[in-house]
Amino acid sequence: MAALPPYATLGERIWHYSYLAICGLIFLFLIFPILVIIPLSFNASPYFSFTPEMLTFDPAGYSLRWYHDFITNPNWQGAVRNSFIIAIFSTIISTFLGTLAALGLSRSNFPFRTTVMGILLSPMVVPFIISAAGMFFFYSRINLQGTYTGVILAHAALATPFVVITVTATLVGFDRSLTRSAASLGASPARVFFRITVPLITPGVISGALFAFVTSFDEVVVILFVGSYKQRTIPWQMFSGIREQISPTILAVATILILISILLLASVEILRRRNERLRGITST
């Protein structure tokens, strides 16, 4: 598909270029909505569209006022703090439990593997609204509704499947002879684990942790039910902002979040490539 052979007919050429044009439009559909937010967030007026001043690149049409509002507004300050507290703690819990479980599941003779795997991955499949409803009723009953503990546990439960999946994926290509030869050379099981297994699965664990972090950091349905205003996170604040008073501050927050997701995307990609290199899989 990359290049047309020199003997291609005119019809083939036309088809080829229109196909490329269609693909270009689809890529535009994917990326344009995200990019369009960035200039709009510097809008000097409280609208969601380009003002004439903006289109003529008049500096008066641009301002940082929405960023200023984001930084100084106590509602957003609290939301940023809560987002980090909740995401960090739920990431630690889910990464720890998820990695252990993935190590256990990857052993060849694990009983009822499919069933257990199905149960462990269920939080990812059940629609968030159902998880949220169930947790709302149950956590209310055990005094966890509207507490940091409740929200962190809920987010950890939602995030563990991602850790299990990424760590398991790292272990699929895991060469067992490495641990065996280390053991036969006299290394204690602990030494084998820390010197051989840990370095090999680390990229998987870190990308699992990143997934877990993002799951919590982006999650909005469950926190709307399980959390209260005290636990409001950035997505909570954005959701109520969009429903209440939609202001361009939301676009400023969105722009910052886009930058964060670019960083996350880059780190996951770097980890993936490092993992492939470590395991001797050449990038195809």
Binding site: S140, R141, S228, Y229, K230, Q245
Partner: protein, 364 residues
């Protein structure tokens, strides 16, 4: 990896510390409606109170919209985290009947009027339930875009007249107020609206009338939406809480004008959840926040009528814009020519059934 872990640990410790510092004061969690409304309470009640009591920190929770549901869950779990809830009179009646909120001895617990009139007399018949401390009288009323019509709409019937007054309408996604309006616009005697609405034929008639504009309605569910819809030009006439319209007209200088005809008057006030964590402190706060001056102060920031008779003469100018607030109150005589007084008890019985029917009607 080690470095990353260390950094994460340091970050966690720092966050834990910063979270701990704010806990030194007694925190009162007050649940209200958010937006301009909570802002007016902040300025009129919370800020002055915290100034008088530096050991108190008031936390605003904006979830009054689902307040009754969350309160029920908290009481059921025996884990009440709210100290005070802002609720509609109809919700207060139901919550009080179910024993989920505290009964109030208005005369003992609240301040008397400056002339010594006891609180129960000062609030008068606005005390809709023994658990309810009235705060404001508000209304759901219409407003329209001045620039979209050559001759402006003046009556409720005009709202239903799409030919003479083209453009979309914004209405609340609830049967309350809309059904009453539909019947009055259809010619029902306004004094008998609830009697007619109590019969199956009356309900059919109301839905039929609403159906005549249904295709041109955008339904809103949050108070801030209708002024936004008007400002964005999505609709030409919108119903909204009158304070929200006021904010759009005066603060945001939008080309919007009120249409008070048959405004739907309702009550809003405070209720104290059973088992509130700081009952003593919150009762002290209430004594301050519901006195004559404070209620009048709130009207400096938002155009809702104070619930005490003694507050009315104290209503003055807007704190920021300096305009006289009296003509913007739903209770101003010139705005009161045609009003619907919401029948809280009637709606308490029929809201479930009519909402069910309303939702089904919407998906048709």
């Amino acid at each position: 990896m080690n470095k990353v872990m260390k950094l994460m640990l340091i970050a966690m410790v720092m966050i834990a510390f910063s979270a701990g510092i704010t806990l030194a004061k007694t925190e009162l969690v007050i649940v209200s409606w958010g937006g301009a409304y909570t802002a007016s309470q902040q300025k009129a009640y919370h800020d002055p109170y915290m100034k008088l009591h530096p050991d108190i920190q008031i936390i605003n929770d904006d979830s009054a919209g689902s307040g009754a549901a969350k309160l029920r869950a908290q009481v059921e779990a025996g884990n009440v985290t709210w100290d005070l809830l802002d609720a509609l009179a109809s919700d207060a009646i139901a919550l009080c009947d179910e024993g989920l909120i505290e009964e109030i001895d208005h005369d003992k617990m609240l301040a008397a009027a400056p002339d010594g009139t006891p609180a129960s007399k000062d609030f008068g018949d606005l005390i809709a339930s023994p658990c309810f401390i009235p705060e404001i009288v508000y209304s759901i009323a219409f407003a329209y875009r001045k620039d979209k019509f050559d001759t402006p709409p003046t009556t409720l019937a005009d709202v239903f007249d799409l030919k003479k007054f083209p453009g979309k309408r914004a209405l609340e996604k609830k049967p309350v107020a809309n059904l009453e309006w539909a019947l009055i616009a259809d010619g029902v005697d306004p004094a008998k609206v609830y009697d007619v609405l109590g019969t199956p034929e009356g309900i059919d008639r109301a839905f039929k009338k609403l159906g005549t504009i249904k295709d041109s309605v955008i339904w809103w569910s949050k108070g801030a939406q209708p002024p936004q819809l008007l400002a964005d030009g999505e609709v030409t006439i919108a119903s909204a809480y009158n304070g929200r319209h006021f904010n759009a007209i005066v603060a945001e200088k939008q080309p919007i004008e009120m249409l008070w005809d048959w405004q739907h008057l309702d009550l809003d006030g405070w209720v104290v959840p059973k088992g509130a964590p700081h009952k003593k402190e919150i009762m002290e706060y209430l004594k301050f926040a519901t006195d004559t001056q404070r209620l009048a102060d709130q009207a400096k920031f938002i155009s809702y009528g104070p619930a005490r008779i003694s507050s009315a003469p104290l209503v003055g100018k807007h704190a920021e814009f300096g305009i006289d607030m009296k003509p913007h109150m739903p209770t101003a005589p010139e705005n009161m020519k045609h009003v619907i007084l919401k029948d809280h008890v009637w709606w308490g019985d029929h809201e479930v059934e009519l909402t069910e029917r309303f939702n089904a009607w919407l998906t048709k």
